[in-house]
Symmetry: C3
């Protein structure tokens, strides 16, 4: 059995946005009890992560870490067509993930207690991001 559903998430600019509930809802709607769920983001300046979902401070620290690690407006970057956050957004996407695969058990993604699935918008301006959830069962 293969089931897939795409959705659009409108971000408000650079931040992490939890999409766990949407992913779990699509898995539930598929009717699959066991199988493999893959989440894919169709962009190169936004990415996916599995992150601690209890303390929002984790994602604030993560954002600060990445702001230092991949600085916007780095003089190294020549690809600046869309501004100082253009190339940094590509690098940030590449060192995180475009796809995540999670096992399904009892009709749900078998995430650990503290695992949430997040869309990470790397551009500073709001964007519409397309995500596809695929289920193989």
């Amino acid at each position: 059995m293969y089931h897939a559903e795409s959705f659009t998430f409108r971000t408000k600019g650079r931040a992490t946005y939890e999409i766990t509930d949407t992913v779990q809802r699509i898995v539930r709607d598929s009717g699959a009890t066991r199988g493999l769920c893959t989440v894919f983001v169709h962009h190169t300046s936004a990415s996916l992560i599995i992150c601690e979902n209890a303390d929002p401070g984790v994602r604030k620290d993560l954002e600060r870490f990445f702001a230092r690690f991949v600085p916007d407006g780095d003089p190294l970057f020549e690809h600046v067509d869309e501004g100082p956050d253009d190339m940094s957004a590509h690098v940030r996407s590449i060192v995180t993930q475009s796809s995540l695969s999670i096992p399904i058990e009892d009709g749900r993604c078998m995430l650990g207690t503290w695992q949430g699935v997040y869309l990470w918008e790397h551009r500073t301006a709001p964007h519409s991001r397309r995500i596809t959830v695929s289920i193989v069962a």
Copy 2:
């Protein structure tokens, strides 16, 4: 055909632990000759990597590189509830992987000659880590 098996690995603290044999054993037990194997770790402070498996020095260098790249006790971090290795463990997990997918051929994960599958414990204290191996064939 879908087959999945979970196991717990008790780490001795921050280090890389090879799990290739366990993954290959689960693939063999599934009876699948061809298909896709996905390994998933159910935590946000431990991760999975495919790494060179011949010289243990590679993983020592990797550990040293990450100790400098994501320093424990970085003053940038505010999420320090569980100590100086708490937030660094989350960042290290995010820049590596929570899931790995490997093709199966002839009843085995088709790893390259020098590829091993490793659980990377990012916390300094020992932890029990749950891992699921899923096979779609």
Copy 3:
């Protein structure tokens, strides 16, 4: 349905090489209209990324960013058997991907408009790199 095909890509040394067309050709040949495509590289010093495919400057900036982030010949590294780009190649592989999963729709990998699939050779010398494309449908 499961279909897999492996191919060898001869690189000319450190650079990113687009393999999107080969991946799409293998998906087309499989006859799958919907499903999941996984690309896997069988090495620990070359990796896979999904990157912006319009401006080659993006990949030049990416290369420069990584040259600074994971410097060849870093005095930190003791694993230098094969030269100053040996250990840096392993680290670069680990912070990017060994496998990528992409949903298939209408007989094609459903990549976003600006997404290309690239093999990233991290060694400075030319190498033959083996890649497997698996399709579950």
